[in-house]
Amino acid sequence: EAGVTQSPTHLIKTRGQQATLRCSPISGHTSVYWYQQALGLGLQFLLWYDEGEERNRGNFPPRFSGRQFPNYSSELNVNALELEDSALYLCASSLYTGTDTQYFGPGTRLTVL
């Protein structure tokens, strides 16, 4: 069974640009989560999508947005990039049947110069 996949592996942008990160969940999983892992700060919850809808949002500004497609894959968009947006962005998926187990992808390393 294929795990959660993310692309690209690395992304380098300059301040003010936009970044788009992609995630494909495990087959059969309908929920997708996005987390930011900045150095020394652990994982911070960003967004949760299920069945195409945004279900929950972390304490991040509106320039962090995303969507979930009919095939349950997801996209995270970060507009007006700032230097402090440099981090590892992790996507996770789960079966939305009441289970809490989230399976993580390898992440996208975003560097903002």
Binding site: Y33, G42, L43, L90, D100, F104, P106
Partner: protein, 112 residues
């Protein structure tokens, strides 16, 4: 109230020893407490999880101890091996809200 405090930040244990990582939370509404293991260049992988209705859960060499009254939980790794060297994250969540609050991580090094 949504924070999960994790300690120590780093830990060095000799091969065969016991590794202990502690976490504390404030919000008594949390009802799901997983531990994740992360190797360099990889995403976190679920190691073991516990709910507040039990005080201990064991899976192989990994044990979670849960103290509901103290609002603390800990991970014990028995007979620690060099292959256990990784960063460990505790987390807490609310069933149904699917949002996990993570600790800041513990970097474990098991020396041969």
């Amino acid at each position: 109230q949504q924070q999960v405090k994790q300690s120590p930040q780093s830990l060095i244990v000799q091969k065969g020893g016991i590794s202990i990582i502690n976490c504390a939370y404030e919000n008594t509404a949390f009802d799901y407490f997983p531990w994740y293991q992360q190797f360099p260049g990889k995403g976190p992988a679920l190691l073991i999880a516990i709910r507040p209705d039990v005080s201990e859960k064991k899976e192989g060499r990994f044990t979670i101890s849960f103290n509901k009254s103290a609002k603390q939980f800990s991970l014990h790794i028995m007979d620690s091996q060099p292959g256990d060297s990784a960063t460990y994250f505790c987390a807490a969540g609310f069933t149904g809200f699917q949002k996990l609050v993570f600790g800041t991580g513990t970097r474990l090094l098991v020396s041969p």
